[in-house]
């Protein structure tokens, strides 16, 4: 089999057709599209689980699901959203946009790129299939803490292998992205000229390569503790269940930055376009991102303040965590300074981006509150933490994903997103999001524990409110489907190459929709 020759390159598409085209493709745009569709399907699957949880919590008492199934649902909701929805969605953006942004014709390893994607469906089959095996899915929480995770049935083993497969996928995907960025830039595209989205992904990919293997190690120890008689997490044999927490969170905290740094990147692309000003403090953004990445390795035990750490340890992890607020603050400052005196318009992507800044920052603040050890001892494992991480993950990562999707939809489909429906999607999401998650702060402060199917009567009102908000939020997401399908079917206003009046960057120099092969002639950046 020969490589693609130059004259074949000019064909719109070459190779197998139909389903085989998608299964065998080595094209970064095809693969990016598959990532995005896959992640949206997972988003809906995880969403159905979340709505079942909220239906159960609508009022006190047990009415919709058995407690066992409730715990399985909270666990799989977390795993599916983190590993199935948010992470693959960002990889989809990386696949589509990084080659276009740096002027490369494709990713560095196009075949391996295909494998990174096609490992995800098997992992999803294992994860979601685990509901249907004897004993059901794992119910240990998405963090899979022992001793619970040592005791569960075969659903737990399926989750372990799913995590392994997703880990392989992530590591290969991350290596591909790092190498593409380091080695495939067009002449003149120096590192400090790269769009910030590429920078944030470069650093994210580095984090992925560093911590996914650690997670693999953690779940391998779970597996051998479960089946081969080892005692890593068993105090009777000299091990310690808390050891698992250390290893898991050594992965887990960088993981949350893996889910937010590309979001920072997307927002940093969008704000300058609609403020019609270059990004304020580009270099400081790069340094802030790097320092967040470095600091994220030394803060993991802020998830473990209640495990009985020595005071010196508590203090260290508390101060280290609070330190992260500095580079994060630099970023928020820069976004706002970019908007300062800009001539701003609020098309749908900009609405999402500004919404992101506002609501994500609230999540950042509650993070700081959680990071203060004496306070966290009160609110750990309560709904306050649930509120915190949904503010940063839904209003952070997910809002940025939507912002990016509306922003680059013209490049992907050749049609502008429908502004009216897009704005409706934004406002519904913003309002319902806050109705759902804002009351959870109060629930947590009042002492309602997380991961429980039933609760004391005094929590009833806020829970009912949160459940109503959740259904509203869930339904609002179907609006997004409408916008995307409309654009993908070629309806709506035709997009120009630049699409947005003040959009800057190489991706806007190629036609909309971007042809199957771009940058066959290597562009030169001045």
């Amino acid at each position: 089999m020969a490589a693609v020759t130059p004259d074949q390159l000019h064909d719109h598409h070459h190779g197998p057709t139909g389903l085989m085209r998608w299964i065998t493709t080595t094209n970064h745009k095809d693969i990016g599209t598959m990532y995005l569709i896959f992640s949206f399907i997972m988003f809906l699957a995880g969403g159905v689980m979340a709505l079942t949880i909220r239906a159960e919590l609508f009022s006190p008492g047990l009415q919709v699901v058995e407690p066992e199934l409730f715990n399985q649902l909270t666990t799989l909701h977390g795993l599916v959203m983190v590993f199935g929805a948010i992470m693959p969605a960002f990889v989809g953006f990386a696949n589509w946009m990084i080659p276009l942004m740096i002027g490369a014709s494709d990713m560095a390893f196009a075949r391996m790129n295909n494998w990174s994607f096609w490992l995800l469906p098997p992992a999803a089959i294992l994860l979601i299939g685990s509901f249907f095996v004897p004993g059901g899915a794992t119910a240990a929480g998405w963090t899979l803490y022992p001793p619970l995770s040592i005791q569960m049935g075969m659903g737990m083993d399926m989750a372990i292998f799913a995590v392994h497969i997703m880990g392989i996928s992530s590591i290969m995907g991350a290596i591909n992205i790092v190498v593409t960025i380091l080695n495939m830039r067009a002449p003149g595209m120096t590192m400090m000229k790269m769009p910030l989205f590429c920078w944030t992904w470069l650093i994210t990919a580095y984090l992925l390569i560093a911590v996914m293997p650690v997670l693999a190690g953690a779940v391998t120890m779970l597996l051998t503790d479960r089946h081969f008689g080892t005692s890593f997490f068993n105090a009777a044999g000299g091990g310690d269940p808390v050891l698992y927490q250390h290893i898991f969170w050594f992965f887990g905290h960088p993981e949350v930055y893996i889910m937010i740094l590309p979001a920072f990147g997307i927002v940093s692309q969008i704000i300058p376009t609609f403020a019609r000003k270059p990004l304020f403090g580009y270099a400081s953004m790069v340094y802030a991102t790097s320092s967040i990445a470095i600091l994220s390795f030394v803060v993991w035990a802020h998830h473990m303040f209640t495990t009985g750490m020595p005071t010196a340890g508590q203090l260290f992890f508390m101060y280290a965590t609070l330190l992260i607020a500095v580079p994060t603050g630099v970023k928020v400052f820069n976004w706002i300074a970019t908007m300062w005196r800009g001539s701003m318009t609020f098309e749908t992507p900009m609405l999402w981006a500004t919404g992101f800044i506002f609501v994500f920052t609230m999540g950042g603040f509650t993070g700081l509150i959680c990071a203060i050890a004496p306070i966290d001892i009160q609110i750990h494992d309560t709904y306050y933490v649930v509120a915190h991480f949904h503010y940063v993950l839904v209003a952070g990562s997910l809002f940025a994903l939507f912002a990016g999707a509306y922003y680059w939809l013209p490049k992907w489909t050749g049609r502008m997103p429908d502004e009216k429906i897009g704005k409706l999607h934004f406002w519904c999401s913003l309002i319902f999001f806050n109705i759902t998650f804002f009351p959870m702060h109060f629930l947590g402060l009042a002492g309602m524990p997380r991961r429980v199917p039933d609760y004391a009567l005094q929590f009833a009102d806020f829970n009912m409110l949160a459940s109503i908000g959740a259904f509203g939020f869930g339904l609002s997401q179907l609006i997004f489907l409408w916008v995307v399908i409309k654009a993908a079917r070629g309806q709506g206003e035709k997009a120009t190459a630049r699409s947005w009046e003040a959009a800057e960057g190489l991706e806007w120099t190629v036609p909309s929709p971007a042809p199957h092969h771009t940058f066959e002639e290597v562009p030169v950046v001045k």
Binding site: G15, D106, G153, V179, M221, T230, S231, A236, F250
Partner: protein
């Protein structure tokens, strides 16, 4: 303006990735079934492994062909170099998790079990927290693995194999194919002897020392660390063997032989892991 294909290599659509995905699905679900005593689990598991091996043969074979027919530019070579480096970094982090577990047990969790409230409330009979230990509920005594017998010899073997591999590499750079083959063969041989000794050591541990996977935290860390290292030596030895066949087939030039270099990087990485293992698992 230069044309993209002067710089980049864009492969044809390929079926190998999907074979790999199906293979890992079979591998994973087969392992789950097998571990939970579902009929046919072992079959599905080995089917997955077989398909994985088939996929690797096909995929790597194609890469070798592309490389030998000169389709890879300088830039592709640089991409391979970066990616191999990052891959080894990910492997380092995988081992770090297990070394971390060992340090945590030795420095923190085991001493904690013999002091303070843990000691009073849980297992007051557990007074000797010195390493090695199988923990407070160890019901069978075991003898830990000594450092200065086979393990020390194995250290010597691996260090020598690193030297012979470098010798082979220098021969390749000078286009001295006979010495290259000799050095490579010697390296493989040393690796295989290492693995043989490792296997003997496990056998000895189980039958004479009563040191098993379930010998508490000592057994856990001992077997997982040495086991994963042994697995990596096996993979490295297979890679070296492939290099040997490729050299016999006339592949590689003094200028163009990154597959060989990557294998050497990997082999040295496995070496370094062993040195750490020798010090903290066997010796101290």
């Amino acid at each position: 303006m230069s044309h993209a294909l002067d710089k980049y290599f864009i492969p044809e659509p390929s079926k190998y990735p999907i074979y790999g995905s199906i293979a890992l699905l079979l591998f994973g679900s087969g392992a789950v079934m097998w571990l939970n005593r579902v009929d046919g689990g072992a079959l599905v598991f080995f089917l997955g492994i077989a398909l994985l091996i088939y996929m690797m043969f096909g995929w790597f074979g194609q890469v070798v062909k592309e490389s030998e027919t000169g389709q890879y530019s300088k830039r592709v070579d640089v991409s391979f170099r970066w990616s191999m480096g990052w891959f080894i970094f990910s492997e380092v982090m995988f081992f770090a998790a297990f070394f971390g577990a060992l340090f945590y047990a030795r420095v923190l969790s085991v001493p904690w079990l013999a002091t303070g409230e843990n000691f009073e409330l849980l297992w007051p009979q557990f007074t000797d927290s010195s390493w090695p230990t199988a923990g407070p509920l160890a019901y069978e005594a075991f003898t830990p693995m000594g450092a200065w017998g086979i393990p020390a010899f194995n250290t010597l073997l691996l260090l020598t194999s690193g030297a012979t591999l470098t010798w082979a590499h220098h021969a390749l750079l000078k286009n001295d194919r006979a010495t290259l083959k000799k050095g490579l063969l010697l390296t493989i041989l040393l690796g295989v002897i290492f693995l043989g000794f490792q296997m003997y050591e496990y056998f000895h541990a189980y039958s004479d020392l009563n040191l098993r996977m379930d010998s508490g935290i000592y057994g856990s860390t001992f077997y997982l660390l040495t086991g994963f290292h042994g697995l990596h030596v096996t993979i490295g030895a297979i890679m070296l063997t492939v290099m040997y066949f490729r050299i016999n087939a006339g592949h590689f030039t003094p200028k163009n032989h990154f597959a060989f270099e990557a294998t050497a990087w990997y082999w040295h990485f496995v070496d370094v892991v062993w040195l750490f293992l020798f010090v903290v698992v066997y010796w101290l």
